[in-house]
Point group: C2
Amino acid sequence: MARFMDVHSGFVGVTAAQLTEAHERDLAIEDEEGVHFERAWLDPESGKVFCLSTGPSKEAVQRIHERAGHPATEVYEIPVEV
Amino acid sequence: MARFMDVHSGFVGVTAAQLTEAHERDLAIEDEEGVHFERAWLDPESGKVFCLSTGPSKEAVQRIHERAGHPATEVYEIPVEV
């Protein structure tokens, strides 16, 4: 199992409730790809969202985000953490 | 106190020991700007680093990174977290 950070763009003006709703759409189906989305952070001014997850591959992470309706613009595997 | 995610580029091939050393350079001086760097994640393949911090402003976060020798390419305030 590896760890990933993915980045979304275009979430300008999104509220905490809307982010929670989007995150819950991921959580509802993440088991189907062996992914778990741990946390997400939003800057509603720039519209950037950062999601921290674990899973088998970048592609699995992206498939969940795509099926939940919000594909990531970038997905990075992050094997090193301090 | 606000929360921030910043992004660095150019850390291709960097090791865990080197990331720890860079992070410790931030920790050594962060108090001078009222900043605290909580965690950092590295993708040594793309060279991206993501740092999660708290502090008074984006500028304060960037000043610590600059003085530590590794300015961020982007700094985002992230008031919303799930």
